[in-house]
């Protein structure tokens, strides 16, 4: 395996130390932990957004810690949710009596550990709330919406609810906005290549190596089956294929106002994402859907996996204003 590292055991700590050096104006590492917190805390009394997740998906979620987005990211080992105690320690370290909103991406480990941290914080008298995000339409049928995985659509709530909390909204208002964003969001992904686990050196998505196949509906941990592979289509076809699945699931209609996030899986080139975005915007316009905002980049990644996921969120003016509101974190400054 040709990956820069010192030892498998220190991947995460080494990475986080580097990250906070690079972005020392925005974030800091809470000493003795793997918690990345805002350099300058939000004013007391405002809702603080907290999330725990496994490492290996960078720049998510550490890259979204900063003004107008997350207040704290508790980082676990590679592709492994941090323990409930680690999440609790992070929360305790930033607790100043302000409400805490613990945001959870729907994956078994993330949920179990967040539940533990939530109960412990509650017992200790911390004013804590918890919400769960799910958006991946490939992971469960619509009737089992709450079983769906939480993936790239998290960008929407991080930005929209983040801006709301920054503006001083109450915990109840933040939660109801979170739920509106979640209910309006759908994500669908396709993988193009194999990638390597940085700790074990083992190959993931090996069935996509040395062929022209792509896999629609893969997860972010190699939990795809390789059973539904199709030949690599042209950009316009790929946009249509992903677009149709997304539009049908929600369903989104003509005249809807949509935000679009094209999320690269890790090694998807900027060129490809621009080409894809162009076709995807064309597809939506043909359906008379309004694209009111969009972005593309390698955000929530799986190492050097190639591929992308498309996330859509239908928004009203309030949501759009929050999406466009100022923020300042490593990935994004508005």
């Amino acid at each position: 395996m040709k990956k820069i590292s010192n030892a498998p055991e220190t991947l995460v700590t080494d990475e986080l130390q580097g990250f906070v050096k690079l972005h020392s104006d925005k974030v800091r590492l809470i000493e003795g932990t793997t918690c990345v917190a805002r350099r300058i805390p939000k004013e007391k009394g405002k809702v603080k957004l907290v999330i725990g997740n496994g490492a290996g998906h960078e720049p998510a979620v550490i890259g979204w810690v900063g003004k107008g987005m997350f207040d704290l990211n508790v980082v676990g080992d590679v592709f492994t949710a941090p323990s409930g105690d680690k999440i609790y320690q992070g929360i305790e370290a930033i607790d100043d009596g302000s409400p805490i909103l613990l945001m959870v991406q729907n994956h078994a480990g993330d949920v179990l550990n967040a539940n533990y941290a939530y109960s412990k914080a509650k017992k200790k008298g911390i004013d804590i709330y918890k919400v769960i995000f799910y958006d991946d339409i490939a992971s469960a049928p619509k009737e089992f919406m709450e079983d769906r995985r939480g993936i790239g659509g998290m960008y929407f709530y991080a930005k929209i609810v983040g801006a709301m909390a920054e503006a001083g909204a109450s915990a109840e208002e933040c939660i109801s906005m979170f739920e509106a964003v979640r209910d309006n969001t759908r994500t669908y992904g396709v993988a193009f290549s194999a990638c390597t686990h940085p700790a074990t050196g083992m190959e993931m998505f090996g069935y996509l190596k040395d062929n022209d196949l792509i896999e629609p509906g893969m997860g972010v941990h190699g939990e795809g089956s390789g059973n539904h592979c199709v030949p690599m289509p042209k950009a316009a076809e790929l946009a249509e294929m992903t677009g149709n699945v997304l539009l049908e699931d929600k369903p989104y209609h003509a005249n809807d106002n949509l935000l679009v996030v094209v999320n690269g899986a890790g090694s998807t080139t900027c060129m490809e994402m621009n080409i894809f975005y162009n076709e995807f915007e064309r597809f939506l316009t043909k359906k008379q859907i309004n694209v009111v905002g969009g972005c593309a980049g390698n955000y929530l990644t799986t190492q050097e996996l190639a591929g992308l996921s498309v996330s859509l969120c239908s928004v009203n003016q309030t949501m759009l204003d929050l999406w466009n509101a100022p923020c300042c974190c490593a990935i994004l400054t508005k």
């Binding site: 676990g76 080992d77 492994t80 680690k86 078994a108 179990l112 995985r149 993931m204 939990e223």
Partner: protein, 212 residues
């Protein structure tokens, strides 16, 4: 060996740790068929932390050893497997409270509580293709053998075989918990990595009791 004292219990747990750590690569390989292939790393990280604790700390009671183990497994493993292994050990600690020696019936009651706690934490039932599919038949077998008055080594051996059979059965199951559930039918054909780790733990207990 018919009973486990604090000293022998610590030695047995050391054997468990060494065995799981030695199987790191094998467990990663099993996980790689249906997941991200790092279950072995996660399991070894947890049991390495426990081994370190066993070697460096002074232990007053069996219950203390078990609750320290539970806490370490939960903290260092993370993911879904951390809270689940943590629950097994903390359930066992609850039952071991106040006991200086463990007879076969004690170990049986401890594992039963551990199983119940793990199911409470993870929400998995038998047949969901998780470590419950190894632990559950093992506990049932142990309960039968306690009724029959089997010796500790013989009862553990039977329980371990029941767990091995349980692991074998996971090959025919469709995952309904954890990441593998997203594979649906495709998860069939491979044995569950978590169940395998559980069976390795039981086998280490058998091996320790057989040679001591």
């Amino acid at each position: 060996m018919e009973e486990l004292t604090l000293a022998s219990f610590v030695k047995m747990e050391e054997e468990i740790c060494d065995t799981v750590i030695s199987q790191q690569e094998y467990l990663c390989k099993l996980d790689s068929y249906v997941g991200d292939g790092d279950h072995g790393v996660t399991a070894a990280r947890g049991f390495r932390a426990v081994r370190e604790m066993l070697h460096t700390q002074e232990h007053k009671t069996i219950a203390q050893v078990l609750s320290r183990s539970a806490e370490l497994l939960m903290q260092t493993m993370g993911g879904a497997i951390g809270p689940i292994f943590g629950s097994i050990f903390s359930g066992m600690a609850d039952v071991a409270e106040g006991k200086n020696v463990l007879a076969c019936s004690d170990i049986c009651a401890m594992l039963r509580r551990g199983l119940d706690q793990a199911q409470l934490t993870g929400g998995a039932k038998e047949g969901d293709r998780t470590l419950i599919d190894a632990l559950s038949p093992a506990v049932r077998q142990l309960e039968q053998d306690v009724q029959k008055g089997e010796t500790l080594p013989a009862a553990l051996k039977n329980a371990s075989q029941a767990a091995d059979q349980g692991v074998e059965n996971t090959k025919q199951m469709t995952a309904r918990k954890g990441r593998a559930k997203f594979l649906g039918e495709k998860s069939k054909g491979y044995q569950d990595a978590g169940a395998t780790t559980l069976s390795i733990v039981l086998r280490a207990m058998v091996d320790y009791c057989a040679k001591s």
